[in-house]
Amino acid sequence: MTGLREGMAEAIRLILGFDPEILKIIGLTLLVTLSSTFFASILGIPLGSWIGFTSFRAKRPIVRSLNALMGLPPVVAGLVVYLLLTRKGPLGTYGLLFTVPAMILAQILIVTPIVASLTISGIHMKVKAVKETCMGLGLSKFHTIQLLLYECRYPILSAIAAGFGRAIAEVGAIMMVGGNIQYKTRVLTTAIVLETGKGNYGKALALGIVLLLIAFIVNWGIGLLQERGNHERRRTSS
């Protein structure tokens, strides 16, 4: 208990003191997490929309595979990216291993199936009705997709939120490909692991509180956007 109390006191001191290392770690965390969520959304939303919108023979196995990949172990993703970027790997010449781009790449690999899979689920709920209505009105395919994405904006937002949640909590893959180098590739999760190992519970707790706050604020914001839509529905339909 004493350790926890001391740890909390240390955490508050570090946060309020704007410790430069912690600020750097926060900055890097935001850079890696937001970039990977952004790129995973760029890939996952169109992919999920396309799969959700079209009918083809291999659709079911692809959807099942994407669902399975939602549970992709981060260390496996890390290992794949590590093997790709290591000096003897196919992308070794670029010297990206133990850099921020490598961490972003590993997280894209983890987050994209989540965004794509949840986008498919969202699209699936509305695709039949929207498609039939648009076809009945003689609207073009492009217009139909536009309307479908608009109708599915809240589920898609949820998909992005879930992807962000996974990215910010991830530690295994970025530890492998980032190397947890101070001031270079150290992010909140990897720093917490390191500081706990060193017995610096105060610092680990401070980082943990910041991590929680960031995750909380971002998800709160996304949740607010979704609730606004749902609230309007409830308020006006009552």
Binding site: E132, T133, M135, G136, L147, Y150, E232, S237
Partner: protein, 232 residues
Amino acid sequence: MNVVVHQAKKTIVSKTILDVENLTFPSNAIVMIIGPNGAGKSTFLRTISGIDKDSIRNVDINQRKDIPTDSLNHMVQQTYLFDLSVEENLRLGGKGIESLDEKVEELLVKLDLLTLRKEKCRNLSGGEAQKVAFARTILSEKPLILLDEPTSAMDVKATKRCEELIVELNRKCGITFLMTTHNPSQALRIGHQILIMDQGKIVEAGTPEHIQNETLDPAAQSYLENWRVAHA
């Protein structure tokens, strides 16, 4: 608008849902399709418009085998309104047509939707939503309009308005309407021709006079008798 059905067929696990062959719809007419639940009315319309992809479809619309999206509109049974305002939903039905503003205004007035024009469609009642979907379908005045139970959720006044609009559009613009209903009296009121379906087949076809006065196929007779008893 000439609509010739050479074959329209759908089977689900050895059960025939639809089986119509060699049927020519009269041009520029209001054709009403009636029949009990599961008779295949909606599937028939969905096959003609090409929305049902699982059916065998050999239909000529103005001598074209493909689906002429530029000359056909279809209001499906489960109407879906987009999460937009009433007016925006209506405008979707008139993409690219001239005098869209006037037509939207005209339909909003005729269907008593003027006060709801800025209202989000998710806030509408079932009947109001159906009126919007109906207005959206007829707005572009395409030569062939398929309506699947378009007035099933409407009150008497709104139903009457819609029927008047259908008759008016048919008379003024020569639009061919194929419309399903569960209300034979509606079919007799506005239809030039009535088709009675049962178990995926057309069991009776003719003018309202024929349907009312002649001896009909036993399945059609039984359907109408049941309806008369229910509404006596």
